[in-house]
């Protein structure tokens, strides 16, 4: 029973794919062109009053007329008829190469991928050797031995092309072989040949069709190239020989080039478009997924609507110290929803930070806290936009201001400490380059000055042997060290505001405490404002003066850290507080269950 369902599955998929191709405009176009060219080659020789090799000395290179639709070539042959014969011949020759490539590539790919072992290593070595050779040079060398024969050339070219199939089938089979249903088939006692035939060929079939369209285009191009160089059978007309003939008269009769060129261009283009269309159709997600997404969006907006009713719980703050550095006022952030509309992720967030303050922005992942932080930096991910609201930095409005304004503020005035230290360092440059480059740019200092400063900074953030670390690449240092480097980078240009986005989440517990200590010390030393984005109330308690609690793109509770810890009003804040490990009662020692 199970086997039948598995076997029928790919078949129905194949049918619907065929249907989809034939309802797609570029699919119809490409299939139509290919069929039309093939039919042209078959039908015209039957209907035409001329023979392909019938010269007419009285009508050399004649222009198109009622007698000769496309005119005549240099030997006075009717181009319309010659073109049909050439089409036949060129397509057959290309098809020969493709068939041989499929036969060798698919079979060896199946065997190597399914069984592995010595055949795998041999075939993989062989295919990489074949791929390293320039095909045309090999074909030329072969022609030297075997004489100009299009059929032998195309057979050889089929061999040269076979790695394209080999690699495709090999990687697909490797992937499929580990699938559970293949194991199930094997367990149920099916032989290897049956499994390959039923389960694996079904999976590689469509990729092979795609590959064949592309390889077909390449084979046609090479076939034409060979014939053009005069390495085909000189007695046979082909697209290449027509081009050669036309090329010899390029100054006097350039019109001879038109028809063979047009046919070659049309069919190769159609084949490639067909391959692209088939691939797009294969990768396209069905309409089902779209509906799911819509549902999710609906749920999200409903939840947002519910949230709107509950007001922000604000604990009164005592007199605040320092002048205001950042003021975020009612900021709304949206992303395109992929259906022409916008999806709001932050619904009117307001917060402010004064000089010397540490302000926490706390909430679960997806609550919009990181988006809010990015909006201040002007670095929202692609597609993201501030839809309304104001962001004022040191009295200057940032929303809608020019890229230049942001370039002057970022790094110099507002710095950023990211969450995941490793992915936030460029893997291709040394720590030194990454640390010094922005300093040179922002502060306009020389390289040697920047280097001195970098060493001082690394020493300050507690990195042993800073000179050596400057020469290292990111993958050569630990995560904790990388985070220290990023912190050093953030404070390097004496910013007025540091935005730290989960600065300790990705670190080991022991390192977390050290990094928090470092942040606290640096903040005290420089008296900068620090906006701490986190989901961890423990971190907040440790560092912050004020807290903003965020949920579903809104701030739901705010106030001095003490008041919120003592007297949280909002149920969500209470649940977050309950989840702190340190605050809960200590767990008792583990008691082993009493055995008999």
């Amino acid at each position: 029973m199970t086997t039948t369902t598995i076997v029928t599955m790919p078949v129905t998929k194949q049918e619907s794919l065929l249907k989809r191709i034939l309802t797609n405009p570029s699919g119809i176009f490409s299939v139509g062109i290919v069929l039309a060219v093939i039919l042209f080659g078959i039908i015209v020789p039957i209907l035409s009053p001329y023979q392909a090799n019938q010269p007419d000395v009285y009508a050399l290179t004649a222009m198109p007329s009622a007698k000769h639709f496309f005119g005549t070539d240099t030997a006075g042959r009717d181009i319309f008829t010659v073109l049909a014969a050439a089409t036949n011949y060129s397509l057959e020759a290309a098809a020969l190469a493709v068939i041989i490539a499929i036969a060798i590539g698919v079979v060896s790919g199946l065997i190597a991928g399914y069984f592995g072992g010595w055949f795998d290593s041999l075939a993989s070595w062989f295919s990489s050797v074949l791929m390293a050779l320039p095909g045309l040079v090999v074909l030329l060398a072969a022609a030297a031995v075997m004489g100009p024969s299009m059929w032998t050339s195309m057979e050889l070219f089929g061999v040269l092309l076979s790695p394209a199939y080999y690699r495709l089938v090999y990687t697909t089979v490797r992937g499929v072989r580990g699938e559970l249903y293949v194991d199930a088939a094997r367990v149920s006692g099916l032989g290897d040949v049956t499994i390959i035939g039923r389960h694996i060929l079904g999976v590689v079939r469509t990729p092979i069709i795609i590959q064949t369209a592309i390889i077909g285009a390449i084979a046609i191009a090479i076939q034409v190239g060979l014939a053009f160089l005069g390495l085909g059978d000189t007695s046979q007309v082909s697209w290449g020989s027509m081009l050669q003939d036309a090329f010899s008269r390029i100054y006097t009769s350039p019109q001879l080039l038109i028809w063979p060129s047009a046919f070659i261009a049309l069919i190769t283009l159609a084949l490639v478009i067909f391959a692209n269309t088939l691939r797009d159709e294969l990768e396209r997600t069905g309409p089902k997924n779209l509906r799911v997404k819509k549902d999710a969006a609906e749920i999200a907006s409903k939840r947002a609507a519910q949230m709107e009713q509950s007001p922000v719980v604000t604990h009164p703050a005592p007199e605040r110290k320092g002048e205001q550095v950042l003021r975020v006022d009612n900021v709304v952030i949206g992303y395109p929803d992929g259906q022409g509309g916008l999806r709001q992720v932050v619904h009117g967030v307001s917060l402010d930070i004064n000089r010397g303050e540490v302000v926490g922005l706390i909430g679960e992942s997806g609550s919009g806290k990181t988006q809010t932080a990015f909006s201040v930096l002007g670095l929202l991910p692609k597609g993201g936009r501030i839809l309304s609201g104001n962001i004022q930095f040191a009295g200057e409005e940032l929303v809608g201001s020019a890229a230049k304004v942001y370039d002057n503020i970022r790094g110099a005035k507002i710095a950023y400490i990211p969450q995941e230290p490793m992915s936030n360092l460029d893997p291709s440059f040394t720590i030194g380059t990454q640390l010094m480059e922005p300093m040179q740019q922002v502060l306009g200092i020389s390289k040697s000055e920047a280097r001195k400063k970098a060493i001082a900074l690394l020493t300050r953030v507690g990195i042993p042997n800073p000179e050596l670390t400057l020469k290292k690449y990111p993958h050569e240092i630990s995560g904790g060290q990388a985070q220290r480097v990023l912190i050093a980078g953030a404070v390097s240009c004496d910013p007025d505001l540091i935005i730290a986005d989960e600065p300790t989440t990705a670190l080991d517990v022991t390192v977390q405490a050290e990094v928090l200590d470092l942040l606290r010390e640096l903040q005290k030393e420089t008296n900068t404002a620090l906006l701490l984005v986190t989901h961890n109330f423990g971190v907040v308690a440790d560092l912050c003066d004020y807290i903003n609690v965020m949920q579903n793109g809104r701030i739901i509770e705010r106030g001095p850290v003490r008041d919120i810890f003592k007297n949280a009003q909002h149920p969500y804040t209470q649940s977050l507080l309950d989840s702190i490990l340190e605050g809960g009662p200590a767990r008792g020692a583990y008691e082993a269950p009493k055995g008999n």
Binding site: L133, V137, L140, N424
Partner: protein, 299 residues
């Protein structure tokens, strides 16, 4: 690899060749003359001995005398190789620069540049280079007289003439490479752009262009470089046809002539030279990749 390729080619060529001396001398030559010619060419010796002699000569830079050309093979190749190398190297540079500009702009801007790159990707991939060459020759050389239709003028001889004679072949040869490279760079840059370090570097005050052209491009450069190596090898083949069309006295016409006349020493010379170039190019690409990627350098 070089030994494998040359040994295989040598043996296959000699096994496949018919009575070479008869072909050279023509049907009318006497049997004695044919035997004498065979001895002169060394064809009467066992094939392994022939290969051994050939290989020894090769190490001294001697590829033997061509059968269908009055000059020694090595000398012919030496005069023709620079021309093909110049053509292919310029094409590679041209393709690399254009692809980087197109690919980066397509990834960063999207919109119409992106659509142009997609379109070039389709056209350049689907339309064979020689058709492009025909189109270029008829339009820009035959009709508009902007460039030379045929011939080759070395840069050292006449820079302006070089420009006139080389532009069209370079274009024809470059298009398919640009198609492949630009698409690949577009994808790699789009990936690299969404990397976390891009945001962090920008947050530290570097301008967008600086981050893109220094950091993103360097990280996207590795895979593009490997592809460029593959393209270079492909161009060595494509150059044969393009040189034939533009009548450029490079390796291409020589190879076509040698194979057309079953000239085994000349063909062997081409095969060995191509293999050497492929090996050198791969080596250079590997070294460049190592310079770009610190992780490769370590292992």
């Amino acid at each position: 690899m070089l030994v494998t390729v040359s040994a295989l080619a040598f043996i296959l060529l000699h096994l496949g060749a018919g009575n070479v001396a008869r072909q050279i001398l023509g049907v009318q030559a006497s049997n004695a003359d044919v035997l004498a010619k065979n001895a002169e060419l060394g064809l009467n010796k066992p094939i392994l001995e022939q290969f051994w002699l050939w290989a020894q000569n090769l190490l001294q830079g001697n590829l033997g005398a061509a059968w269908a050309s009055p000059m020694p093979v090595a000398q012919d190749l030496a005069t023709r190789l620079p021309i093909t190398l110049t053509l292919v190297t310029w094409t590679t540079l041209f393709a690399a620069v254009i692809s980087v500009l197109l690919g980066v702009t397509a990834a960063v801007r999207g919109g119409w540049v992106d659509r142009i790159v997609q379109f070039i990707g389709l056209i350049g991939f689907a339309i064979p280079g020689f058709l492009v060459a025909f189109f270029l020759v008829t339009t820009f050389a035959v009709k508009l007289h902007l460039f030379n239709a045929v011939g080759w003028i070395p840069f050292s001889q006449d820079p302006n003439g070089f420009f006139k004679s080389a532009t069209l072949p370079i274009f024809a040869l470059a298009l398919s490479s640009i198609a492949a490279l630009a698409q690949q760079i577009r994808g790699a840059v789009a990936d690299a752009l969404s990397a976390d370090y891009v945001r962090t570097l920008r947050a530290r005050g570097l301008s967008f262009n600086r981050v893109v052209y220094k950091h993103v491009l360097r990280n996207a450069g590795g895979p593009a470089l490997s592809l460029l190596g593959v393209q270079f090898v492909g161009m060595m083949g494509g150059a044969v046809i393009v040189e034939q069309i533009f009548n450029i006295p490079g390796l291409g016409p020589y190879a076509v002539h040698a194979t057309g006349s079953s000239d085994i020493p000349a063909t062997m010379g081409i095969v060995v030279l191509t293999a050497v170039i492929v090996i050198i190019v791969n080596l250079v690409i590997d070294l460049l990749s190592a310079a770009l990627n610190p992780k490769v350098r370590l292992s």
